[in-house]
């Protein structure tokens, strides 16, 4: 029997991915529907000399993982809805101070306490703009458990490569549904290690001076190089500065290092897109219904395909424009009031051809829900 095949919840697939990526430290706070991630890591991390701590609140959890990351650890926290709101200030700190960390947000219905045990995809824009001020962010998502595993590994890789917080936007259906995963052998998936400075003791180390390739080698707290980390605008030593040139250049760096690498960061899947007259764009659990419908319609001769986004931020504008260029109509399938829809409309050549198939009542959107809208667009009536 292959021990690497497991039948697990999505939250457990996320944990398996984190362990594969080499997570050293997790801090969290109980919240539905993400709690299983904390529970499983409290069991697994001590077995590997890793650290698990249940903090006093969501803010403290985010703060603790940032602190741990600075010692050289690969770090993660997991949350949902209200907890994601609470973490936002510290996420902004991690953006500003360029500290690698992964935040899994298993989305539930909102706003406020909302619908804790039911599915939603309402945090797409919060992942992008939840913290104050201009900044860039990476957000990944997945529609099945094998992809949850792989995107979790990718989240850690991006966090290290770009020295940034990465949001893993899962949802309640993905988190709690059970499905098969195959754990890849060590080495099958790339795992990015932390880039550390090679500068020796006594050499002036600049923690915030990017190399030519844009990456910034780090130095662990407790190592030879002692430097300052702050949420204030800062110079290449990490010292606070309000010099207009320093402020402008740092903000450009924080945004450009991610936005200019959208091609490297974009992850997507496509199904039957080549000749598609109708393009469904979806992600997360709602992509399962979109794929199901498209497969079903294809069998009946409809020219319909699916573009599944696995990275939402930075938004893959050019990819979406190209994939939709030949379509009669584009239907964005999501469980919110049109958060990715707005991005798609701004990306395509003809925004009037873009429609929203959504569901916002806490239930998973069904293939029939999408089909109803498709028939209306096709002029067939419901």
């Amino acid at each position: 029997m292959n021990k690497n095949i497991k039948f697990v919840q999505g939250n457990e697939a996320c944990v398996e991915g984190a362990l594969y990526a080499g997570v050293d430290f997790f801090a969290g706070y109980p919240i539905t529907p993400s709690t299983e991630i904390a529970e499983l890591l409290s069991r697994e991390l001590p077995k590997r000399r890793g650290k698990f701590i249940q903090m006093e609140d969501e803010i403290a959890s985010m703060a603790a993982v940032i602190g741990a990351s600075l010692t050289g650890n690969k770090v993660m926290t997991a949350t949902s809805g209200p907890g994601f709101s609470l973490k936002q200030e510290a996420i902004g700190y991690a953006c500003m101070a360029e500290i690698p960390c992964v935040i899994a947000n298993v989305q539930r219905g909102g706003p406020s306490t909302g619908n804790p045990t039911h599915v939603s995809q309402g945090d797409v824009n919060q992942a992008r703009w939840g913290t104050h001020g201009d900044h860039a962010i990476i957000a990944l998502t997945a529609s099945n458990h094998q992809d949850v595993f792989e995107m979790t590994v990718e989240a850690f890789n991006f966090a290290e490569t770009y020295r940034t917080p990465v949001v893993l936007l899962l949802d309640e259906v993905i988190g709690h549904m059970r499905e098969k995963i195959v754990i890849p052998a060590k080495g099958d998936l790339p795992v990015v290690r932390r880039l550390r400075t090679s500068l020796k003791k006594g050499v002036d180390y600049h923690p915030y001076l990017p190399r030519e390739d844009g990456r910034l080698p780090m130095s662990d707290f407790g190592g030879e190089h002692r430097y300052n980390v702050t949420g204030l605008f800062h110079d290449m030593w990490g010292f606070p500065s309000n010099n207009p040139k320093v402020v402008r250049e740092l903000l450009h760096h924080l945004v450009d290092k991610i936005e200019n690498n959208v091609d490297q960061i974009t992850r997507h899947k496509e199904y039957w897109l080549d000749d598609a007259e109708y393009v469904l764009i979806s992600y997360g659990s709602s992509a399962r219904s979109a794929i199901h419908l498209a497969k079903n319609r294809r069998e009946r001769g409809n020219k319909i395909g699916v573009l599944e986004l696995q990275s939402i931020w930075p938004f893959p504008k050019e990819l979406v424009r190209q994939k939709c260029a030949g379509a009669r109509a584009v239907i964005v399938v999501e469980m919110n009031m049109g958060q990715v829809l707005a991005q798609v409309k701004s990306a395509v050549d003809d925004p009037s051809s873009v429609f929203l198939a959504n569901r916002i009542d806490g239930e998973l959107i069904t293939p029939t829900n999408i089909k109803t809208l498709l028939r209306v667009i096709q002029g067939k009536g419901v």
């Binding site: 000399r49 703060a63 770090v75």
Partner: protein
């Protein structure tokens, strides 16, 4: 034995001076006591991480030549908890203002104490939000003036020593900027203590608290610390119970420390494999 001459310059980042504190501010005295404590303990700065939040006090972290982590308002102890648990060999020192430690950061303060994690918190209590221009804090107390209490405060204050003790801190001390030599001693003991240690130091803010409440200049305010505080158990307390006690209130060396307890969990979970 001849007393060693202090050379605290080894522990500061000179390029970051002059500091941003107002003339007469007590925080420089606290910084001086802290640096002398670190020097007398002969600590390797490579093993020290100073974590701070937001406020006048929090700016200390930029001036010291340790690993320094200047974070967000109130959360310094939570960041410090992450650093400490991830790398327990590091010494964590967290300077905090009264608002930073006990208003926005109150939850983290009591929970760090409850865990008894080996971190030293230095509460620089000037009874005011200085950086924002003189609003009252949870340590201001009743019948005081502040820019947000023009008619005087009606908010009771916390007693830092009692709060830290009740929450589980295993070392708790109090001193003032007038008693700088005493502060050095307390900070040394706090840093050497294994567990969560709290040193409250009264620190004058002549610019905001002092001016609003007619306490005179910095020297007057320090003189008041001399007059209104006494060593723990002083006979003067019988005559005047309003005097505030200074000294080491808690020094519990037996309380289990969080990171050491976690190491035991690792041993059990890994069944010796780790």
């Amino acid at each position: 034995m001849a007393k060693k001459e202090h050379n605290v310059k080894n522990y500061i980042r000179e390029r970051f001076f002059p500091h941003m504190w107002c003339p007469g501010c007590g925080h420089g005295i606290v910084l001086g006591s802290l640096l002398r404590a670190v020097e007398e303990l002969e600590l390797d700065p490579t093993n020290i991480v100073m974590t701070s939040g937001i406020g006048c006090s929090a700016r200390i972290s930029g001036y010291v030549n340790f690993h320094s982590l200047h974070t967000i308002h109130g959360r310094a102890l939570a960041f410090a908890t992450g650093v400490k648990l991830a790398k327990p060999k590091l010494k964590l020192i967290v300077p905090m203002g009264d608002g930073d430690a006990l208003a926005i950061g109150g939850n983290h303060f009591i929970h760090a104490a409850r865990r008894n994690i080996d971190i030293t918190a230095i509460v620089m209590n000037n009874r005011i939000y200085g950086m924002t221009g003189g609003q009252f804090s949870p340590l201001t107390g009743c019948n005081q003036k502040a820019t947000t209490a023009p008619y005087s405060t009606i908010d009771n204050s916390f007693d830092v020593v009692k709060l830290a003790t009740a929450a589980g801190a295993s070392f708790v001390a109090r001193s003032t900027t007038y008693h700088a030599a005493e502060s050095i001693d307390f900070i040394k003991k706090a840093i050497n203590h294994k567990g969560f240690s709290v040193v409250e130091i009264f620190s004058q803010c002549p610019t905001h608290y002092g001016r609003k409440n007619k306490k005179g200049d910095a020297a007057n305010m320090m003189e008041l610390y001399k007059q209104t505080t006494v060593p723990i158990g002083s006979k003067k307390l019988e005559e005047d119970p309003s005097l505030i006690e200074r000294g080491i209130f808690v020094d519990n060396k037996k309380a289990p420390e969080y990171c050491e307890e976690y190491a035991k969990i690792v041993k059990v979970a890994s069944k010796g494999r780790a």
